[in-house]
Subunit: 302 residues, 2 copies
């Protein structure tokens, strides 16, 4: 098999995270960052984002040392996107204490010639209009998957509807799916969102795993049970990174591959939450993921 490169466009940020146990400042964060690192276990990743002049060079080095192509990470005048959040004791609900979009507020990605030829593309959470402008630049894209969030569902609904028709897959969390589909039943929500355009919809349920919906398939996969939840920030992005990484690695998105890819996404995310920022992912290798996969498959077999 010939792994395919994977393009991700999204936020690159500096995070401050507070949990009931600890507080950590100046963490390397952002949706595209978590995605890239997670996907880098599987294939070559091309990261497109923007940071400010305050961005520490060591952060870029950390990513490029993983083999992530950071040539699409632009430095703009101003400060890097900053997010500060606090998790409740359930480690699921969180409060955003502060958001400073800074240079990310003016983010308008222009892809290089090389990047425009990418066939596997992930549009991390962002304004739908911007996500569509990225799609305009990848005419040969074979698998376009996007994330979105409650803010865009509420404030840019029309653009989001246009985007959905152009997607192969949409990855959203349970709250967003309920909002978008106007129902509390997640199975119904998944089918309704799929009918809005995407060929498949994945609903992320955090500690409860993820659900998959396509025209002919509906399934649920549980999260990997871990008692060590240190920082859930980026769990959804590392899920998407592991999933898309596996698909690009195998250059295949047939139903069976999608299911295996979802399992890999769940497992990479289960590592991601075991440390602050990218810390836990930095400690592991593909072999650790494969070992957990063996346990996960055993868990689901009876």
């Amino acid at each position: 098999m010939q792994p395919m490169p994977l393009l991700v466009v999204g936020s690159v940020a500096i995070d401050n995270v507070e949990t009931p146990q600890a507080r950590r400042d100046d963490l390397l964060g952002g949706s595209a960052t978590h995605f890239s690192y997670a996907a880098s276990f599987f294939t070559d990743v091309q990261l497109v984002g923007v940071v400010g002049t305050d961005w520490p060079a060591e952060h870029t080095k950390l990513l490029s040392d993983r083999g992530i192509d950071t040539s699409g990470l632009k430095v703009a005048d101003g400060k890097t996107f900053r997010w500060t959040g606090r998790y409740e004791s359930n480690m699921n609900d969180r409060e955003t204490l502060d958001v400073q979009l800074n240079v990310f507020g003016e983010f308008n990605p222009v892809l290089s010639e090389k990047y425009r030829r990418t066939e596997y593309v992930f549009l991390a959470n962002g304004v739908p209009a911007l996500q569509m402008r990225v799609l305009d630049q990848v005419p040969g894209c074979r698998l376009a998957v996007a994330d979105t969030m409650d803010l865009w569902i509420q404030t840019t609904h029309d653009d989001l509807m246009k985007l959905l028709h152009r997607l192969d897959g949409l990855v959203i969390n349970d709250m967003e799916a309920k909002m978008l589909a106007d129902t509390e039943n997640l199975v119904l929500a998944g089918h309704r969102v799929r009918k809005l355009g995407p060929k498949f919809v994945i609903i992320k349920k955090g500690e409860h795993g993820a659900m998959f919906f396509s025209e002919h398939e509906t399934y649920v996969m549980p999260a990997y049970p871990t008692e060590k939840v240190v920082d859930p920030t980026g769990a959804g992005d590392s899920f998407a990174g592991g999933m898309m990484g596996y698909l690009a690695e195998h250059d295949n998105f047939e139903p069976h591959s999608l299911k295996t890819a979802m399992a890999y996404g769940i497992l990479v995310a289960s590592f991601d939450v075991e440390g602050f920022g990218l810390e836990r992912m930095q400690q592991i290798s593909r072999e650790d993921i494969e070992q957990r996969m063996t346990l996960y498959k055993k868990m689901l077999r009876f």
Copy 2:
């Protein structure tokens, strides 16, 4: 294989249920009722409970027509236990609008000689002291599993602790597990509760499935994805009934059987919630359960 009889002791009630879609009064309800019906797909069930003189004979007939042994269902002077509840739009959170314990408040089960020889026993939700008095009467019991609830965790904590040491298995919901273990992490909660005595603990997560904890095993199984949630009342009891029914049918509670049994519990519960009271279970046969099992196994295979 020689199916073993299964004894259940618990509430038998008349329910009024209100959902966002409908309201239904005078439903055949109660924990032992849902359990019995669910277990009757697998083995012979002996139901021990109490009702009042207002109890409709057709309810008993409905159960005995299923082959459930209702000789342990006593009629006492007074009224039957009545419960009225209302479900929120998420069909998960519910409010108890009215409870009248009536004759169930004085419930003090005395088992017949035949019942005292039962080897598979389920203590449906009830006062821990009462659950222990039942255990005293089944000296040859090989598999004792109980349910409990937040009220007993809070008000009869010492008795509950004594009970836990006498159990093979405990089945509780996620909120109760968190309360009993004093942690928001369900994986940690499961292990902590197990260390309080039971050989295994099962945490019911409603629409998110169930988790299993023993000394050597931890696993999660997702719920069967259904868009038709009509009335969740009794889902946990039908889960336990399906699970215990399978174990008694096979007279085996080795790790592999426990896992398969948990899957059967999940599937019977997925039918139970598709109608009010016992209505949906009344429409199905063992074959329907087996068909859903085939789909469920396929869903978990990749």
